[in-house]
Symmetry: C2
Subunit: 199 residues, 2 copies
DNA sequence: AATGAAAGCGGACCACGGTCCGTTTAGGCT
DNA sequence: AGCCTAAACGGACCGTGGTCCGCTTTCATT
């Protein structure tokens, strides 16, 4: 009665994904991506995705929990490259430049990226787990840079203060309703950084 | 063939509201308010409101455009008193205190208020006109105070920078997910004001 | 008071997100 | 190979937001 509890007991909990489940997950992500690219975020209906992937609707919900969850998965996939650049790409966004340069580059990049993916981001809001996961990455990075800069005060809250004006609804309000141009928003954010960082 | 174009041509455009329309509007607002108070924001279904007010569903949409619009109307009604306090109430929130005191009082008040009405605010997001109208009041006020304080720089963007961390999704993230306590958030915001205002 | 037209009204109807549960299938065990 | 169980599947079903269009009401004019 020998029994390895699992072939690879590393990371005990997640009991592994069944092969059909993995296949369907890929098919669904792929179908969703195609729909976004070809007809926009609004066209990504749960029924449409299911049909296009050739699976039942229930399966979509089983995999992603909700429409927002599906969007979040799409978003994570498309942000992975960016996260890689931030952590290991060329300076000033990646490591190698002085912290202040990195922070400014980060802000610019995040701001522009958020505006590009605005529709997807908005469609993804409300997905519990990811919202925090993806946010968590940016927060951790900014917190780290503020620490490197020797900023004094409640770093967590200063991080929030810097990140909040980069959130999609606010950027959309500024660009679409107030008619503020992107360069001006970037300049404003850099000014904010200066005020926050320089004691 | 004499014809005054209208009884009161003041404010040319709005052609006046028909009496039955006004009556229905009141009934609907009232019904909605009762539903919120008795069973929470989620219970405010368009059908439920319509039935309770004794009108057809189409009427609800005709009046408020969407669920978010209805919520926004509710919110406006409940924020009117607060706006009055800000513009004409006792100091330090109202006029009479030095600008810096007023700004700090404003932030505290807005922060707490936003957390109290969080559910309603979230249900109201997406209503085009009001989002801007209600936001506009706070922005104008902060902009004015920053001006009074002699702050230099792009006042519009600094206003956004101060207001953004008071937005509901961010406050909710801080209190509910990160477990930060309200007093700490308030302190953080006051620190932010200091950094932004003191050149 | 009668009239005409624009504003308002109501509720059937549609699309979409989300749930449920009976059925199918992967894949470890013997 | 055959079995057994937990996982996965599918699609009928439901509630809700939002639209549409033929009918009704208001009210200015005469």
């Amino acid at each position: 009665m020998s029994h390895e509890p699992e072939l690879l007991p590393l990371l005990g909990e997640p009991p592994r994904e069944r092969s059909d489940a993995a296949r369907n997950r890929d098919a669904l992500m792929c179908a969703a991506k195609e729909l976004v690219d070809s007809a926009g975020v609004d066209a990504v209906t749960m029924d449409a995705v299911a049909e296009r992937a050739g699976v039942g609707k229930g399966t979509v919900f089983r995999r992603f929990g909700s429409r927002a969850g599906l969007m979040a998965a799409l978003l994570d996939a498309s942000e992975a490259a960016w996260q890689g650049d931030v952590m290991g790409g060329p300076p000033p966004l990646g490591p190698g430049a002085p912290p202040r340069e990195r922070l400014l580059a980060f802000g610019r990049s995040r701001l522009v990226g958020n505006l590009e993916r605005a529709a997807l981001v908005q469609a993804a809001t409300g997905a519990q787990p990811r919202s925090y996961a993806a946010y968590s990455f940016t927060a951790t990075h900014v917190r780290y840079l503020l620490h490197e800069l020797g900023v004094r005060g409640d770093i967590d809250l200063l991080t929030t203060a810097l990140l909040a004006p980069l959130e999609v609804p606010i950027l959309l309000q500024q660009t679409q309703i107030e008619g503020i141009d992107v360069d001006r928003i970037v300049a404003g954010w850099e000014d904010l950084v200066a005020r926050v960082v320089d004691a």
